[in-house]
Subunit: 416 residues, 2 copies
């Protein structure tokens, strides 16, 4: 049992077996998982994880929003814990790995340390955050958001599902309201392992994504107003076709992203055409704009860029173009030390790695407000997630877990 | 009563007054008319027109699809009649002039000839065609279509409205099935006066549009298939964004129209984005394409053009683009003699005139299959039609009616 910490390896088969066992709770016919937040199935999943944690000698506490903390004491148990975790709720047509991997990878780290009788200086914790997905109750990342003070416990409690059932009702019904005040729980550092949910690692043939941070997001509604008219009797020169102007602006959303590389992203996902009739020139088109970039400054630059383009287009076409910002999420750069320790661990372990940025939201975004934070991505098949066909390779999941182990040990300190 | 035919003028105030009286049947609060085909109100409108015709000494016959023919005998009553007309059914939110003007202008021609005791060599007729609008029963231009053999009487009879009531049931209920077999009715020539339903005359400040024909139409459904993916985690370079490719093709629809001047028209009126979610890159976009031009050859050239553009775009983007033709209407060039006689009448009468082309469908399209045909357009306010705010100026309506009178007299011959 005198393995040098750098030579420790987690048990990839045990990790995989736990993932499959957890995925059986709420399993769908198509190979996915439907385990919506704060349902009976979610409780079964939580209890399954909690019982594994107890078997691994961990203590379990819960806070008032139902976030669970599975703790392995450190030699100096007064130190703030080095925390990892994610979530175990899923999308309605979710997969086996999104979130679940981050929680079970943390559990596997502890099991591995137990196997080798290794004690850490600081305590280690594995957290599962309530309702990350936001499918049943909005907002997304609810548990970690309350924990980080992004919104209040009362706001989260008041959220209702489509049946009018509230978060508070379900937490009470399931017995998931713990005594801790969310946030009154020290965090020394936070690491989260997650499938990438995008195609970059697979495209590069790389195993470990060293996540530099999470993209900032700006959401807009754009309305182009022209003049509805019959397609037949109206010559081209006399048209005020809202869709043609909208189509040009839609392409500019993508061009704007390309003007702000390497992380700029621009998406038009939603379009409403009025009156939406085959032989009527559209009088009004409403569409969404989603702009993302690695820093808030770059997000603001993209904001100014698309507004300037829209203003020129409005002037040239004579049509009215309104752009209204409807939501806004700050960019979350991760901690330089956490990033470095993840990259070094991957390097030492001989896994190919590259810096990546997360385009999607994760609980780690909120943790980054509280403590040094880093994330580890592993590839998922075809970059597909939030889908029952979501898939990941056991060796990639094991590699990510090995990196997590190394990064947590470096941060927590090993008692020699 | 020895007025030279060229010096005859219709009575603009009488024409206007009849238009207003007919518009009172089914009048809407917003100043429009709702008199759907084969409703009680439509019957009231028909009966109003028929009683005016009888007062003007005309005989009335009806065919089996309910088309009405109001006849003023000629000196040689065996000659095929010179026919004018249009329809008196309206859109649900229709105006006072669309169709109604063409019927009442014909009646005013007869009243004017009566006033001056002028006999024509050939008989004159004013037709009102059943269900031109197609709002309640499809297809549009039903009565004239059956008359011209574009589809059968049985097909028209079988058409049902949204309540499941058939054309045959309503024709029977209203007593509108006449003894004539549609089409077994000679037509020497056909003229139709109509508001333009477009902005060209108003834009040019011109009173009379000498209609060269009706644009051919090609309707398509276009589907662009890419790959649905999350807007956040998917970098620009790895996207297969169906909407971006669709937006480019939508602009090409307009560019295609501009490449086929002066009458080429290209419209995208209808768009469906899948999954139509703000933060999901669209995986599939379906949209309509409406291409029009003055001849079938030009329509086919536009067809080949847009298909070639789409094929290049599919190859460049790697996305699948499917274009399916869903409907097709031939271009209807009008008769050169009819066109010339309308232009000469406008010139003689001192009205500004210009050649125009009709982008919308009219009963005259079907008549052009049977006899020499021409149409006279007058301006409508802001080019707006199929709308309760549809409006036209009395002096323009009178001018169009004067042109109609002259053109009909030239064709029918005046007994001196």
């Amino acid at each position: 049992m005198n393995t040098h910490p750098h030579d420790l390896r987690i048990d990839g088969r045990r990790l995989w077996s736990s993932l499959m066992e957890l995925a059986a709770i709420g399993a769908t016919d198509k190979g996915g998982v439907c385990r919506l937040a704060l349902t009976d199935l979610d409780l079964q999943g939580r209890n399954r994880v909690i019982s594994w944690a107890r078997e691994a000698g961990m203590t379990v506490t819960m806070d008032r929003i139902g976030n669970g903390f599975l703790r392995r004491p450190g030699r100096n148990d007064a130190l703030p814990p080095i925390v990892t975790g994610s979530h175990i709720d899923t999308q309605p047509t979710g997969g086996k790995f999104d979130g679940n991997y981050g929680v079970l990878a943390g559990l596997e780290v502890v099991r591995t340390l137990n196997d080798h009788g290794i004690q850490t200086e600081a305590p280690l914790e594995v957290a599962f955050w309530t309702n990350e997905e936001g499918s049943r109750f909005v907002p997304v990342m609810m548990g970690s958001g309350v924990f980080a003070g992004a919104f209040t416990l009362e706001q989260a409690y008041a959220a209702t599902d489509s049946q009018g059932v509230s978060v508070r009702q379900e937490l009470e019904r399931l017995g998931c309201i713990g005594p801790q005040v969310p946030g009154e729980h020290p965090i020394g550092a936070y690491f989260e392992a997650h499938i990438e949910q995008g195609p970059v690692l697979e495209d590069h043939g790389v195993t470990i994504g060293v996540v530099g941070g999470v993209l900032g997001i700006r959401w807009y509604d754009c309305v182009v107003t022209g003049q509805e008219a019959h397609a037949g009797p109206t010559p081209m020169a006399l048209r005020r076709d809202a869709l043609q102007v909208a189509a040009e602006l839609m392409q500019e959303v993508v061009a704007c992203a390309h003007r702000h590389p390497p992380h700029g992203r621009g998406t038009v996902g939603q379009v409403q055409v009025h009156p939406n009739s085959r032989n009527v020139i559209p009088g009004r088109v409403k569409f969404s704009i989603d702009l993302r970039n690695a820093t808030d400054a770059l997000c603001e630059a993209m904001d100014a860029d698309i507004r300037a383009v829209a203003a020129r287009l409005a002037q040239r076409s004579g049509l009215d173009i309104g752009i209204e910002r409807v939501s806004h999420y700050s960019a979350s750069p991760f901690d330089a030390d956490c990033i470095r320790s993840i990259a070094q661990a991957a390097e030492r372990l001989g896994h190919s790695h590259m810096p990546v940025i997360s385009g999607a939201g994760h609980d780690a975004i909120y943790m980054a407000r509280l403590a040094p934070t880093g994330m580890i991505f592993v590839p998922c098949k075809d970059g597909i997630s939030h889908n029952e066909i979501e898939d990941a390779r056991p060796e990639h999941l094991a590699a990510g877990c090995d990196v997590l182990l190394q990064a947590m040990l470096e941060r927590a300190g090993v008692v020699s």
